[in-house]
Point group: D3
Chain length 69, copies 6
């Protein structure tokens, strides 16, 4: 199985909460984990990101797709 | 600083690659890390997700927003 | 009317379900339909995608925008 | 393999175009195909969508994830 | 023409930059403009958002769809 | 604080509506505001966008991230 996505993170389900249409599922990431981000070159230049820097990755929960083997 | 997003992951920049418009940045996640996903209740039911299960989280790199303090 | 999006698919509404904030609408695609995907070149190389191959396109429902003339 | 996404469409690769960071892949959808959309209840009410109506589904190519078995 | 999206902002094109696959287009918003955000109730509670507060709305450029009449 | 996103719009909260999992928040944009969109070069060519043109920017509310200092 191969995905057209750079981020494929192993994680364990820790909680589930639902209403009629939507559900919120929470996970604990199983390390080691790598991530990747695509941004405009302009944003990269504005942020002045450099290899080795520690930053924060913000992701809206709606953009996280759980996949179960 | 407070974000309207469930996922805020600490990470270290490991590589940067750019063309004229877009850039791809890679990171190593600094554990421990938690994540959250919002899916339809229907998808949750179809997947039969349960607390404690180990699954995979797939995220397109374009949906990952780096933030630098 | 011109859209800055590659995917513009004709479809027929088959069901609607709502709660107070969100709604889930289902459709039957009216063939023929074409789709397009933008991924990183790295993901393309990893997947080893070739013209003529049959694959699956996964799209979160939240990323589908209905437009009515 | 189970995905936390309502849209899982069979499709055939028809063309591939790449630059250094990003690639654009095109597909022909293999019918029959169903799709689903999540919108706010407010948008649903404004659109006055009804079962049986024919509409258009607009999806940015960046939100389409190819998966290969 | 009706869209299943809460944000429909009038804007004027101020610049365009392209490489082979992707383009970055910039705009000046024509006021008055309203916007809407859907977040989890949990994020709302964590942010402690209140009517009347001034905040910042962050949107990745990839999620902005230009439409031309 | 620096974000890997082209759109950072000042806005004032005008209303909030919630159910158990999701919330819809509305805002009045504080002018002047600029926006940016990333689309495929193909979409740009199809739309025949030109500097100075007035168009509409459509954004699903789910893709709008509120940030509070």
């Amino acid at each position: 199985m191969k995905y057209g996505a750079r981020n494929q993170i192993k994680a364990k389900v820790t909680s589930i909460k639902s209403d009629e249409v939507m559900s919120l599922v929470k996970f604990e990431v199983i390390p080691p984990a790598k991530m990747a981000s695509v941004i405009t070159f302009e944003s990269l230049a504005d942020m002045d990101l450099k290899v080795g820097e520690e930053i924060r990755l913000v992701v809206k929960a709606i953009n996280v797709l759980p996949v179960k083997d």
